[in-house]
Symmetry: C2
Subunit: 132 residues, 2 copies
């Protein structure tokens, strides 16, 4: 099948598929006589795998490791689990950072009357003018 059909089934843009091929995340697609890429179901399967992994926030580097483990019938499930748990702790750190930002912003916003006057604790805080 053509790349656009594969893209639709995998849930990825064609650009991204070509990009994954270019960076070696997936094997180069077979080509037809006219030079068009030709995808089989198992190729789409792999692309879906990547789409899902990227959707869960795994980096391309992590995806490489996952692809290798996916193709390794002798893999240890602990290796996969390790990558997943690392990802969970990365996510936890990101959530914590975002929650801290959010708390600060909400706090500042609650103290800002938000009217036509220029007086604004948000600006003041950013400028650190509270203490001088």
């Amino acid at each position: 099948m053509n790349i656009s059909d594969a893209a639709e089934r995998a849930g990825l843009p064609t650009k991204t598929i070509r990009y994954y091929e270019e960076i070696g995340l997936v094997a180069p697609a077979r080509r037809r006589d006219n030079g068009y890429r030709d995808y089989a179901d198992r190729d789409v399967h792999m692309l879906r795998f990547l789409s899902r992994a990227r959707g869960l926030g795994f980096s391309v580097a992590e995806c490489r490791a996952l692809v290798a483990l996916y193709g390794d019938t002798d893999r240890k499930s602990s290796d996969v689990k390790e990558i997943a748990l690392k990802r969970v702790s990365d996510i936890d750190a990101k959530i914590a950072a975002l929650q801290a930002m959010r708390a600060t912003l909400v706090d500042l916003s609650e103290n800002c009357h938000g009217d036509d006057r220029p007086d604004c604790p948000i600006i003041d805080d950013l400028a650190n003018e509270l203490g001088g």
Copy 2:
């Protein structure tokens, strides 16, 4: 003062300060006869403002708007508040996405024995092999 002193006081790398100047986020620094940038306290103040805003996750584009509002003594605090609240809702969306990812990953990890065997529900889920 030299850029490295300004950098230290502002909490930004020198590279970043030059970059902010290059993209017009801050006005070009005054230069000394030898070509070195020369920073005054108010310049450092502005750089700290930016450092803090970036630290709260405001994009450079948002920082531009904040800088403009900062310098506008006729600003409406509602304009500032609007940017801050927009940022809060962006953060909320990001947190929600991360929490969904996290839940999926934790769920998958809990079902993975994480031992020397290849059998792994994490890989299976990514490959979408559960339903066929």
